[in-house]
C-alpha cells in the first residue's frame, strides 16, 4: 500500500467513535477539542510559519509541543502543575499571560479547563484527522435493528442512540419523490410521476425511482451546476473590462461527464491534466479548460507578469479548495498558520501549473483567444479544412514540380539578351510599394541627421513615423528593408510594427524589435502561443549603421521568415513557430516606425531608406539594397564565367523576380493558403492547458509578490504527504494521479462530503472548503471514512455513491421536527431528521418554468440570456424565444454583473472557487419571486395548462395547481385559502378587465385566449393564485 503520509503514524491513538456533544464530561479529544484551540489562539505565533514564530516554541507538531525548553517543559503529560503551558495561560501577570493581550485572542474559562484536563489526562496528541488515511471502520452495533437499511444508517443510529435520540420516521412517498427528483435532477416530479410512484407496488419501487432519475440526462445538468461554482465558471473574463469568452463547450463536457458517469478520479485527472494523457483525445484536452476559468485581465497599463502569477495562484487555490478541501490562500504569502502547508509547498505546487505558453493579459483590441487553445471546428469546417490543406499541399508540390522546367528556362535566360535588360532594369527592384528616404523635412518628433544615403532621421522613441502601407496577411510574402543605427544596446525597442497595439492587442500583427540588443522579427496572432518569432544570435553593434531586411514567404512558418544583416542572412534562433491564425486587426493595418503606444520606442535610433516590397526578395536583391554588387557583378559576367554559387544565387533572383511561371505558381499558392486561412480563422477556439516543451522556470515569491523572486522551485507535491515516487515525471498528470490515488487521505473524503452536502444541505464536514485544523470536525468521522473507502472501492462511481446514500433510511427521514429536537440539535448535526431549506436558485427558477411547461429542455450550447440579464448591473439584451426559458445552468454568467435573480437567490458569484453557497433569507428574494416577470409568466402558463385539463372546474384547477407546485394534495383548509384568493381575484378582474389584460401580457409569450369557457378574469385570477403559490414554502423549500 502506498502510504501518503510522511509523518509517523506510530503516535496515533484512535479517537472515540462517538464525539460527545457535551464537552464538560468524558475524555478530552485532541482533534475535536484541543487542536482547534491551538489553531485559533496559539498557532499565529507558535505555528508552522517560521517567520512569525515567537520564542521558537511551536504547537503545531508533537515534537515542538512537548520539547524541553531550557529548564522546563511546556506540556508534561499527566502533570498540570509542571506544565508551563498551563501556567502561562492562567498567569495573573498580564505580561506573562498567553495569549498576549495585544493579540486580541483570549481563552475562556471553559477552554482553559479543557486544556487543563487534556494535560491531566495524559496530553494525548494525534495527527490531524484529515491527514490520516481514511479508516475502514466496522459499522457499529446498534440497539434498534429494524431501522437501519445499510451501514450509513448504523453509523448515524449509533450516534443517535448514544445521544438518547430516535431517528425520524420515513417521509411519505409524495415527499420522497419530490426530494429525490430535485436532488438528482434539479426538477420536481410531474403529477403523473407522483401517481406512478404512489401506486408502484414493486418491493423496490424506491430503487427503481432512483435508477430512473440517475439515468435522466437532467442529472448531468443538475450535477454540473454544482461543479460550475467550484470551477468558477463564467461566460466572461472577469476583473474589470470583463468581455465575453467562449468556454461553454467545457460546461457541456462537464454535463456529459456526469451523464456518462465518468469515475470521479478520471473526472479530476481529465480536468487537471487531460492534455497529458498519451494520445489525449480532443475531449480530454477540452476538460483542461477547467484550469483557465479563473478571471483574466485586460486593463490598460497592467503588468502581465503580475496577472500571469495571479492566474497560476488561482489554479492552485482552486485545486486546493475543490479537490483537497484545503485553503492555499494563506501559504501564498507565508507558511500556513495552522496547517502543515508551507509557502514552499505552495510554489512547488504552482510550478505544475505555470508551464503553459500563456500571457498575463488577454487582448483588448482583438478577439484572440488567449493561448494555449484547442480548436473546435464543426464537422463541416473539418471537411473544408482538410480540403483546403490538400489544395495547399498540391500547390506546393506543383511549384516544386515546375522547378526542372524553370531551371531550363533559367539556363535559356542566362544565355539570352534579356539578361542585359535585367541588368538595366534592376533599379528599382520590382514590387516596391514604399520608400522613405527622409530626404526632406524630418517627420514630427524626429530630427534629420546625416544618413546612409543623403539624409536620415533620428527617432524620439515616442513619436511613430506613419506609413501608408503594410496590410499584409499571413499568406502574403513581403520584404521590409532599412538602414538602422542603435545608439546603445537596447533592452527593448520597437524598430517598426504593424499592429493595433502591444499587450493591448495580444501583439497581433508583425514587428521588428530590438530585444536584449538582438534583432527580433515576428508575425503574431496572439503572443506568445500563436506566433512565429526569430531572433538574431548576435547583438547589434551600437553606433554602427547596419542594413536590415525582414523577408517573409507567406508560409506561416518560422522557416519562411528571415533576417538579413548587411545583405547576408543572419544566424537566428527560432523563438516561436506556431502561427495558425490571422495577423490583421480591424484597422490600423499600416506600418509605423520607431514607436508604439505604451511600448518602448527606438529612442535616439538612426534610420534611413525604409523600403517595403510586396514579395519575397532574393538574396542578391537584398545584397543590392545593402549596397552590395553581387547581382550586378553576376549579371555582367558571361554565363560560363559564373561560379556555382553565383549561378545558384542568380537562379534565386531569376525565379523570385523574373520568372512568369513561378509568379503564377506563387499566386496560386497564395490563393490556396488564403482559402485555408479563411476557414481556419473562422474555427472556434477554447483556452486549454498544453505543456511547454521546455519547463518555464517557477519561483518562490517573497510575500507572494510577483517580482520578488527568492529562488527557483521545481514542481513537487506538499511535503506533509508522501512524495511522488522519484522517477515519476513532475507534471500535472502525475499530480492528478497522485491526488486520485485511492490512499490519498483527502480527495475522496472531500468529494464524498460535497455529495453528502448536495443531498443533506450540509456536509458531514460542515466546512467543505476547509478540512484543515481550522475547519470543523466531521459530525460522523467514521461514516465519512466508510463512505470514502466505499467510493474508491467502487472505482469512484458517483452514481453508485449517490444511490447508496439516497437509499439509506437516514436520507429517507421526514423533515418534521419537534421543538425539543430543534432545541437539542438546531443545526441537525445528529441527522435525526431530514433537513429543510430553500431550494437553490437554479431549482427555484427551473421548477417554476417547468411547472407551466415553459422550460425548454435541450442539453448544451451557447449561454442563454433570460430576462434578468437585461436588468443586471452590466445589462445585455435578453434573448427572444427559447433562450428565455432554458435551464438556469445555461444562464449567461457575467462576472462583473451576474444574473441578478440568481444572485438574489444566493447563487455563487463565481469570481473564485466556492464549494458552499450561503443560504440567506432576504426581502429581496421575496421581491424577485413576487414580481420578476418570469415567475409571473410561469404562473400564467401553469394556469393555462390546468385550465385546458380541468375546463370549468376551478377547484380542479386549484387543487392540481397546488399539487403540481408542492408535490402534495392540499388539505381542505389549504384549498379553502387558495379558493378564497381565487374568488376575490375573479371578482376583482371582472371589474378590472384592463388590469387582467395587463397582468396576462407580462413576459414575451402571448397568453392563450382560446381557452374554453375562460374569460380573461378566470385566467388572470388563477395566474395570481399560481404566482402566490410560487412564493409558498411548499414550493420554495426542499423538505
Amino acid at each position: 500500500m502506498f502510504h501518503l503520509l510522511r509523518i509517523s503514524l506510530s503516535a496515533l491513538f484512535f479517537v472515540a467513535a462517538l464525539a460527545q456533544s457535551d464537552r464538560s464530561h468524558g475524555e478530552v479529544d485532541f482533534n475535536r477539542d484541543i487542536r482547534p484551540l491551538f489553531a485559533d489562539r496559539c498557532l499565529h505565533c507558535h505555528g508552522p510559519d517560521e517567520e512569525k514564530r515567537e520564542g521558537e516554541y511551536r504547537l503545531d507538531i508533537r515534537e515542538g509541543a512537548f520539547a524541553v525548553l531550557d529548564d522546563h517543559r511546556a506540556i508534561v503529560p499527566g502533570d498540570v502543575e509542571a506544565s508551563a503551558l498551563i501556567e502561562r495561560i492562567t498567569s495573573e501577570d498580564e505580561d506573562e499571560r498567553m495569549p498576549p493581550a495585544d493579540s486580541k485572542r483570549t481563552l475562556s474559562a471553559e477552554e482553559i479547563d479543557l486544556l487543563r484536563r487534556w494535560v491531566a489526562e495524559g496530553a494525548k496528541w494525534d495527527l490531524h484527522w484529515s491527514f490520516r488515511p481514511a479508516e475502514r471502520p466496522e459499522a457499529p452495533q446498534v440497539t434498534d435493528q429494524s431501522w437501519p437499511r445499510d451501514e450509513i444508517d448504523q453509523f448515524v443510529l449509533a450516534r443517535l442512540e448514544a445521544e438518547g435520540l430516535e431517528p425520524g420516521a420515513e417521509a411519505d412517498r409524495e415527499r420522497l419523490i419530490r426530494r429525490l427528483s430535485f436532488d438528482l435532477t434539479g426538477l420536481p416530479p410531474t403529477l403523473a410521476e407522483i401517481d406512478a410512484f404512489l401506486t408502484d407496488e414493486r418491493p423496490d419501487a424506491y430503487g427503481h425511482l432512483v435508477d430512473r432519475l440517475l439515468a435522466s440526462p437532467r442529472y448531468g445538468e443538475r450535477m454540473a451546476s454544482l461543479w460550475l461554482d467550484a470551477a468558477r465558471y463564467s461566460d466572461t473574463y472577469g476583473y474589470q473590462v470583463d468581455r465575453d469568452r467562449r468556454v461553454w463547450p467545457w460546461r457541456d463536457w462537464v454535463i456529459g461527464a456526469f451523464n456518462d458517469n465518468m469515475p470521479y478520479d478520471l473526472f479530476i485527472q481529465n480536468q487537471l491534466a487531460g492534455d497529458l494523457f498519451p494520445d489525449a483525445t480532443k475531449e480530454q484536452i477540452l476538460a483542461t479548460t477547467f484550469n483557465r476559468l479563473h478571471p483574466q485581465k485586460t486593463e490598460g497599463g497592467s503588468i502581465p507578469e503580475e496577472f500571469q502569477n495571479e492566474y497560476v495562484a488561482d489554479r492552485v487555490q482552486t485545486l486546493g479548495t475543490a479537490v483537497l478541501g484545503l485553503a492555499f490562500e494563506c501559504c501564498r504569502c507565508h507558511d500556513h498558520k495552522s496547517d502543515p502547508i508551507t509557502q514552499n509547498d505552495f510554489y512547488q505546487l504552482s510550478a505544475f501549473f505555470n508551464n503553459i505558453d500563456e500571457f498575463g493579459l488577454y487582448s483588448y483590441s482583438t478577439d484572440s483567444v488567449p493561448t494555449p487553445t484547442l480548436r473546435l471546428p464543426t464537422q463541416e469546417q473539418e471537411k473544408e479544412l482538410s480540403k483546403a490543406k490538400q489544395a495547399v499541399a498540391e500547390q506546393v508540390a506543383c511549384a516544386e514540380g515546375l522547378e526542372t522546367e524553370q531551371r531550363q528556362a533559367f539556363e535559356k535566360w542566362l544565355h539570352s539578351s534579356e539578361r542585359d535588360q535585367a541588368l538595366k532594369s534592376t533599379e528599382p527592384i520590382s514590387g516596391q510599394v514604399a520608400h522613405l528616404d527622409f530626404g526632406g523635412t524630418a517627420p514630427h518628433g524626429a530630427k534629420s541627421i546625416p544618413g546612409q544615403v543623403g539624409k536620415g532621421v533620428q527617432l524620439s522613441g515616442d513619436d511613430p513615423i506613419n506609413t501608408q502601407v503594410g496590410d499584409f496577411r499571413r499568406y502574403d510574402p513581403f520584404t521590409i528593408s532599412l538602414w538602422m543605427r542603435t545608439p546603445d544596446e537596447k533592452k527593448r525597442a520597437v524598430i517598426f510594427h504593424r499592429s493595433l497595439g502591444w499587450t493591448d492587442a495580444g501583439s497581433r500583427g508583425y514587428e521588428l524589435l530590438l530585444e536584449e540588443g538582438k534583432l527580433s522579427a515576428a508575425l503574431i496572432h496572439f503572443w506568445p502561443g500563436n506566433a512565429i518569432r526569430i531572433r538574431t544570435q548576435e547583438k547589434m553593434t551600437p553606433g554602427a549603421w547596419v542594413h536590415v531586411a525582414m523577408v517573409y514567404d507567406g508560409s506561416s512558418s518560422a522557416d519562411g521568415l528571415q533576417l538579413y544583416l548587411d545583405g547576408a542572412p543572419a544566424p537566428v534562433d527560432v523563438v516561436r513557430d506556431c502561427l495558425s491564425k490571422e495577423i490583421s486587426g480591424k484597422d490600423g493595418d499600416r506600418i509605423k516606425i520607431g514607436a508604439r503606444d505604451r511600448d518602448r520606442g527606438f529612442s535616439d535610433g538612426g534610420l534611413d531608406e525604409f523600403e517595403v516590397y510586396t514579395r519575397q526578395l532574393s538574396p542578391m536583391e537584398i545584397d543590392a539594397l545593402a549596397g552590395g554588387t553581387q547581382l550586378s557583378a553576376a549579371l555582367e559576367k558571361s554565363a560560363d564565367a559564373l561560379s556555382a554559387a553565383e549561378r545558384e544565387a542568380l537562379w534565386q533572383f531569376y525565379r523570385l523576380s523574373l520568372d512568369p511561371v513561378h509568379k503564377e505558381s506563387l499566386a496560386s499558392l497564395r490563393e490556396a493558403r488564403k482559402a485555408e486561412a479563411d476557414v481556419h480563422d473562422l474555427v472556434a477556439e477554447i483556452m486549454v492547458m498544453q505543456e511547454l516543451p521546455d519547463r518555464r522556470p517557477a519561483f518562490f515569491l517573497t510575500r507572494g509578490v510577483y517580482h520578488l523572486r527568492a529562488r527557483e522551485v521545481k514542481p513537487e507535491t506538499p511535503a506533509v504527504f508522501l512524495p511522488l515516487p522519484k522517477k515519476t515525471p513532475r507534471n500535472r498528470l502525475s499530480l492528478a494521479r497522485w491526488l486520485t490515488d485511492g490512499d490519498h487521505p483527502l480527495t475522496a473524503r472531500v468529494a464524498v462530503n460535497r455529495f453528502w452536502q448536495m443531498l443533506f444541505g450540509e456536509g458531514l464536514v460542515r466546512t467543505p472548503e476547509d478540512f484543515g485544523s481550522q475547519g470543523e470536525m466531521p459530525t460522523h468521522p467514521q461514516l465519512l471514512d466508510y463512505l470514502s473507502n466505499d467510493f474508491v472501492d467502487h472505482n469512484w462511481d458517483v452514481k453508485h455513491l449517490l444511490k447508496k446514500i439516497v437509499q439509506s433510511a437516514t436520507y429517507r427521514q421526514s423533515s418534521e421536527v419537534t421543538s425539543e429536537l430543534l432545541e437539542q440539535d438546531p443545526e441537525n448535526q445528529l441527522l435525526a431528521r431530514a433537513s429543510r431549506y430553500q431550494l437553490p436558485a437554479e431549482m427555484l427558477r427551473d421548477a417554476a418554468l417547468y411547472a407551466g411547461g415553459l422550460l425548454v429542455e435541450r442539453i448544451g450550447g451557447p449561454p442563454a440570456k433570460p430576462y434578468e440579464v437585461a436588468v443586471s448591473f452590466k445589462p445585455v439584451d435578453h434573448d427572444k424565444g427559447e433562450g428565455l426559458f432554458r435551464r438556469s445552468v445555461y444562464t449567461y454568467w457575467k462576472r462583473t454583473g451576474p444574473a441578478p435573480v440568481m444572485m438574489a437567490l444566493d447563487a455563487s458569484k463565481r469570481d473564485v472557487c466556492r464549494v458552499r453557497r450561503s443560504r440567506t433569507s432576504s426581502p429581496l428574494q421575496a421581491l424577485v419571486l413576487l414580481n420578476d416577470p418570469q415567475f409571473v409568466e410561469a404562473g400564467r402558463h401553469l394556469s393555462e395548462k390546468l385550465l385546458h385539463e380541468h375546463g370549468t372546474s376551478d377547484t380542479g384547477v386549484l387543487a392540481a395547481m397546488f399539487r403540481t407546485l408542492t408535490g402534495r394534495r392540499p388539505t381542505e383548509a389549504e384549498l379553502a385559502v387558495v379558493e378564497k384568493l381565487y374568488q376575490q381575484q375573479v371578482a376583482y378582474f371582472a371589474d378590472h378587465q384592463q388590469q387582467a389584460e395587463r397582468y396576462l401580457t407580462t413576459g414575451e409569450s402571448a397568453y392563450d385566449d382560446t381557452l374554453p369557457c375562460s374569460p380573461v378574469e378566470r385566467l388572470a385570477a388563477h395566474s395570481v393564485v399560481a404566482a402566490s403559490l410560487l412564493n409558498y414554502e411548499g414550493f420554495t423549500m426542499k423538505r
Binding site: K874, T1002, S1028
Partner: protein
C-alpha cells in the same frame, strides 16, 4: 462573536430613528447633537455584534467614491514648487526607481506638469483648494483633508477593489458588507447597505463585487438603488397587480404558512413570513425614501440643477441625505470619470463641475439637520495622479497617469476634526513627506468611528479569520475629534 474588551465599555447600537420616534419627531424633524445622546445604550441591532467594541462616533457612513483617481495636485494639494518646475524632467531622486504603469513606463521623457488651476485658502482653517471647487471652498471648515493617502495598486481594477474590499483581487467582502454584517440594519424597513452609481458616466468600468458580500452571508451585499422606476430590482408590483391584490396574495400566503407552523416548529417559515412583511414594507418605504420630488425648492436648488435628473451625482447626493436621515447604515456612491490620462484641463473641470456643488450641498444639508454630527462622509478615489505628463506635454493640453504613492482623500462629520489637513506630500507631490495613511488605515479609521475595532470584526472562512483590513490598518488617531 463580540469579544468584550475590558478597556472599553461596549456600547449598544442605538437606533436614531427609534429615538426620534420616542421623542415624537418624525423623519423630517430636526435633531440636534445633544438629542442623539452618545452614551445611553438601548438595544442590539441585527448585526453579528451584539454591541459595538467601543463608543461609536458615527452611526452611518456616506462614502462618495470618485472612481478613476482624481488629481490631487489640481484639487487639494497645492504645489507651487511643482508649478515652478513645470516642463522639467521628473528627477530620478524623486522617482527612486519605483514602478510606473505600463502606459507611461516606457516613455522616453517624463516632464513635470504644474497645475494650471489657481489655488486659494478658504474658511477659518485656511484649507487650500483650487478654483475647480468653489462650493467646497465654502464648507472648508468641515473637512479633514488627508493628503498622504497611499495604496499598493497601480491600475484601476486592483486599486478600486483594494479600497472597497481590502484586497486587490476579487473574492473579499466590501466595506459596506462588513459594516452590514457587523452592525446590521438600524432602520428595518430599508436595507442597511445601499449603493448608487451615477448613471451614464463613461470611464473605467465598475463591477458589482465592489459592493458584494464575498464569503459573508449574501444578505450583506449592497443593494443598488437604480435610477429607473424600480429603485430596487423588482420592487414594483407587476403590471395589473394593484396594492389590494398584492395584499390579498400576501394574506393567502400568510394563512398557508401559518397552517404549516401549526403543524410543528418551523423557524424557517417564521423567518420567511417576516421577510415577506419586510418586502411589502419596502415596497412603500423605498419609494418614499427615494422621492426627491418631496424636497422643497430651496433644498433642490442647493444641490444644483442636475438634481432633477434622476441618477445624476447631484440626485444621488440628495438621496444619500434622505437615506442617512432614515438611518441607512452605509451609503455608497460611485462617480466615474476621474481618469485624466489626457485632456486634463477640460475633463477635470467637467468632473469637478458635476460634483462640487452637490458634494458641498450634502455636507451643509447634513449639518443643518444635525446629521453631520453622527454621519461620516468620506470622499476619494482609488489612487492619485502623476506629477509628470503622460504623453506629450503641450501648452493647452496634458494628461496625468496613475499614481499610487500619494493622493488626497477627505473625511467630514461623524467624529473627525473639521478644518484640518493631515499628512504632507513632498514639494513635487510624488512621495509622502509626513504621516503616511494607507488605504487600510482609512478603512480602520472608518470602522473605528462606527465603534468597531477593525481587528476584531472577523469572519472565519477557509480556516482563517478574515477582516476588512487584511493584515494591516492603523486607526489615524490624530484626526479624531
Amino acid at each position: 462573536m463580540a469579544i468584550h474588551n475590558s478597556k472599553c465599555e461596549p456600547v449598544q447600537v442605538k437606533s436614531r430613528r427609534r429615538m426620534l420616534k420616542q421623542l415624537g419627531i418624525g423623519f423630517g424633524g430636526i435633531a440636534t447633537a445633544g438629542m442623539l445622546g452618545r452614551s445611553a445604550p438601548v438595544e442590539a441591532s441585527g448585526g453579528i455584534l451584539s454591541a459595538t467594541h467601543h463608543l461609536p462616533r458615527a452611526r452611518r457612513v456616506i462614502f462618495l467614491f470618485q472612481s478613476g483617481g482624481p488629481s490631487q495636485m489640481d484639487t487639494f494639494d497645492y504645489k507651487p514648487e511643482l508649478n515652478a518646475k513645470h516642463g522639467t524632467q521628473l528627477p530620478a531622486e524623486v522617482r527612486m526607481g519605483q514602478r510606473l504603469t505600463a502606459m507611461s513606463g516606457n516613455q522616453t521623457s517624463l516632464p513635470l506638469v504644474g497645475s494650471p488651476f489657481k489655488f486659494q485658502q478658504h474658511g477659518e482653517s485656511g484649507i487650500w483648494m483650487s478654483e475647480l471647487l468653489p462650493h467646497m471652498a465654502k464648507v472648508a471648515d468641515e473637512l479633514c483633508v488627508i493628503k498622504s493617502v497611499h495604496t499598493d495598486a497601480i491600475n484601476h481594477g486592483p486599486a478600486v477593489t483594494l479600497v472597497q474590499t481590502g484586497s486587490q483581487f476579487p473574492g473579499r467582502p466590501s466595506i459596506g458588507g462588513w459594516i452590514s454584517y457587523g452592525l446590521g440594519a438600524e432602520n428595518e424597513d430599508l436595507p442597511p447597505f445601499v449603493v448608487m452609481v451615477t448613471k451614464d458616466k463613461g470611464g473605467q468600468p465598475l463591477v458589482s463585487r465592489l459592493w458584494g458580500s464575498g464569503f459573508l452571508p449574501s444578505k450583506n451585499q449592497g443593494v443598488r438603488f437604480r435610477s429607473g422606476k424600480d429603485p430596487i430590482l423588482y420592487l414594483g408590483n407587476p403590471s395589473g397587480i394593484d396594492p389590494q391584490t398584492r395584499q390579498r396574495m400576501l394574506t393567502a400566503l400568510r394563512d398557508l404558512h401559518e397552517m404549516q407552523i401549526e403543524k410543528g416548529a418551523n423557524p424557517e417559515i417564521e423567518n420567511k413570513i417576516s421577510q415577506y412583511d419586510l418586502a411589502f414594507r419596502m415596497q412603500s418605504s423605498v419609494p418614499e425614501a427615494t422621492r426627491i420630488e418631496d424636497e422643497p425648492e430651496h433644498v433642490l436648488k442647493k444641490y444644483g440643477e442636475d438634481v432633477r435628473n434622476p441618477g445624476s451625482y447631484a440626485a444621488n447626493c440628495l438621496l444619500a441625505r434622505r437615506l442617512a436621515e432614515r438611518d441607512v447604515r452605509f451609503i455608497q456612491l460611485y462617480h466615474q470619470g476621474w481618469d485624466q490620462h489626457g485632456n486634463l484641463v477640460k475633463s477635470l473641470s467637467r468632473q469637478c463641475q458635476e460634483t462640487d456643488q452637490p458634494t458641498a450641498a450634502l455636507l451643509s444639508d447634513l449639518k443643518e439637520r444635525g446629521l453631520l454630527e453622527d454621519t461620516l462622509v468620506v470622499w476619494g478615489g482609488e489612487f492619485g495622479r502623476t506629477n509628470y505628463c503622460q504623453g506629450k506635454l503641450r501648452n493647452d493640453n496634458f494628461g496625468r497617469d496613475h499614481h499610487p504613492r500619494c493622493f488626497t482623500m477627505w473625511m467630514a462629520g461623524g467624529g473627525v476634526k473639521g478644518g484640518i489637513n493631515y499628512g504632507k506630500t513632498g514639494p513635487l507631490c510624488y512621495n509622502i513627506a509626513e504621516n503616511p495613511v494607507h488605504v487600510f488605515d482609512i478603512q480602520a479609521t472608518l470602522m473605528h468611528l462606527l465603534g468597531i475595532d477593525h481587528e476584531r470584526l472577523t469572519f472565519k472562512y477557509q480556516g482563517r479569520h478574515f477582516r476588512l483590513t487584511d493584515v494591516g490598518g492603523k486607526v489615524v488617531h490624530p484626526i479624531l475629534a
